[in-house]
Amino acid sequence: MHEQIRTNEVVCLEDIWVYYNGVTALEGVNLSINQNDFLGIIGPNGGGKTTLLKVILGLVKPSRGKVRVLGDTPVRSRKLIGYIPQLSQFDRDFPVSVWDVVLMGRLGHTGRFKRYSDKDKKVAIDTLEIVEMLDLKDRQVGRLSGGQRQRVYIARALVTESKLLLLDEPTASVDKPMQTGFYEFLQKLRKEQELAIIVVSHDIGVISTYVNKIACLNRRLFYHNSKEITAEMLEAAYQCPVDLIAHGVPHRVLKEH
């Protein structure tokens, strides 16, 4: 914990290898993320992006390598990680309100067999205010728009009082203008709450405008601790020329060459 404060290192992965049923999902991944970093990880579907997040969360145990999160093991630190899973896995008829879902983020703070405390409720209200969803707190989650639901999941991740947000394909089911708004919102949140954020996406478009560091992942991680991605990194990750992907991006990602 002290070490983490001194170095501001939030996540440290050293030579991580993951095998699923004999198939290699991650190959020698090294990654270091500090407080206030906003890292975008792009890569093709099936490139191991979700697996990488699950390694950080301690849901997947690497076959080889060292993981440290907030100066401790992932399992012990994960109460302090705000995880925002992919939106797609969701039953629209599920009888649960926005309020119930946000409070779930407090389960790590409230003991078993206990009701939510007044503090839990206060944190939930404050956080719903931050994500501008307080007036919809009694709405059933299935009757929210994609963007609203995403905000609820962010609130649920934030009430854990986390220092690290992990987002898995956060804008996969949200339209373009909404995506821009969403990333601006994340950017603001990061500055106000001093968070480290990792966003994983197969869509290089919007993500590259807002993040301050970017990595490419296709089993191996291509990362230079900067915002710059070289054509070589992308080609290595996607295994095909990808300069077309950068079209329509407000800021240039690829260097002129």
Binding site: N21, F94, D100, M104, L107, R112
Partner: protein, 274 residues
């Protein structure tokens, strides 16, 4: 209607119906929202093995069923969480093996094998007082556990992965939930039998799900609906002189059909207005 209450077996039957409604209203809601209908079917059918064993050993078949349902619930839960075996395949195997064991145990028993009809399709009119006490205890256990772990079960059902991340012991909690399904099955066997249990676990909760978006209200509605369905089914079976368990299920199905039709009509109308 009132004159049938003068018979003790009728009063016992109504009480059994009420006790069954409490269990299936609460646990059925979880079965429906967590989409574990198939595993619940496996648990209920495996109960037949326990009933057969009960006969063979000369103990109360309901107690035999309790052990079999608990063992199959925990067995299927552990297999699905800890191994790479396909969950639905394992459920199918345990489902049929439990039934087969029941038939063999009944055949091994002394004398002619007893008639399994009542345990397969329910015979609420023959519920002995001792079974009512067992049902009462199981209901109390179910209510106590759900009341004290309500928020954790909600998180487990809504988003298991997130619940794990924030520190909820989801695997243990899932096994507890399956065990509660096992207890519920035992409560329901007398009323509708091992084969029809799955209908009483799912239909009232499914109808309630069309009426409300709150899990708590869904449970309360399911309890009330099951109480109405079991009472109506019982009365119809008395009037028409037909099997009570099957009659209860047909009442459930009819109301489900009407509820679904009216829901789709309502949503169509609101679509036209919009």
């Amino acid at each position: 209607m009132l004159e049938i209450l003068q018979y003790e077996f009728m009063r016992n039957a109504l009480i059994a119906g009420m006790l069954a409604s409490i269990a299936c209203g609460i646990i059925g809601t979880y079965v429906v929202v967590k989409r574990i209908v198939f595993i619940s079917g496996g648990i209920s059918h495996s109960a037949f093995g326990g009933i057969g064993l009960g006969y063979l050993l000369g103990i109360d078949p309901i107690i035999g069923a309790l052990f079999f349902t608990l063992a199959s619930a925990l067995g299927m839960g552990i297999v699905s969480k800890r191994t790479d075996l396909r969950e639905d395949t394992v459920i199918g195997i345990i489902w049929a093996t439990g039934m087969a064991l029941g038939v063999i145990f009944l055949g091994l028993g002394p004398g002619y094998p007893p008639d399994p009809w009542g345990y397969l399709f329910g015979n609420i009119l023959t519920v002995p007082r001792s079974d009512i006490i067992v049902m009462l205890i199981l209901d109390a256990v179910i209510i106590l556990i759900i009341f004290s772990l309500y928020k954790d079960f909600l998180a487990l059902c809504f988003d298991e992965e997130f619940a794990t991340v924030v520190g909820v012991p989801t695997e243990r909690l899932y096994l507890v939930l399956l065990s509660l399904i096992a207890l519920t099955v035992v409560v329901l066997i007398r009323v509708v039998g091992v084969i029809l249990v799955i209908a009483l676990l799912t239909i009232p909760a499914a109808i309630s799900g069309q009426l409300t978006y709150s899990l708590k209200k869904m449970m309360i509605f399911s309890i009330l609906l099951s109480a109405i369905f079991t009472t109506c089914g019982l009365w119809l079976s008395y009037v028409l002189d037909l099997a009570s368990g099957a009659m209860i299920i047909l009442v459930c199905f009819t109301v489900f059909l009407l509820s679904s039709l009216s829901k789709s009509l309502r949503s169509q109308r609101s679509y036209v207005h919009a």
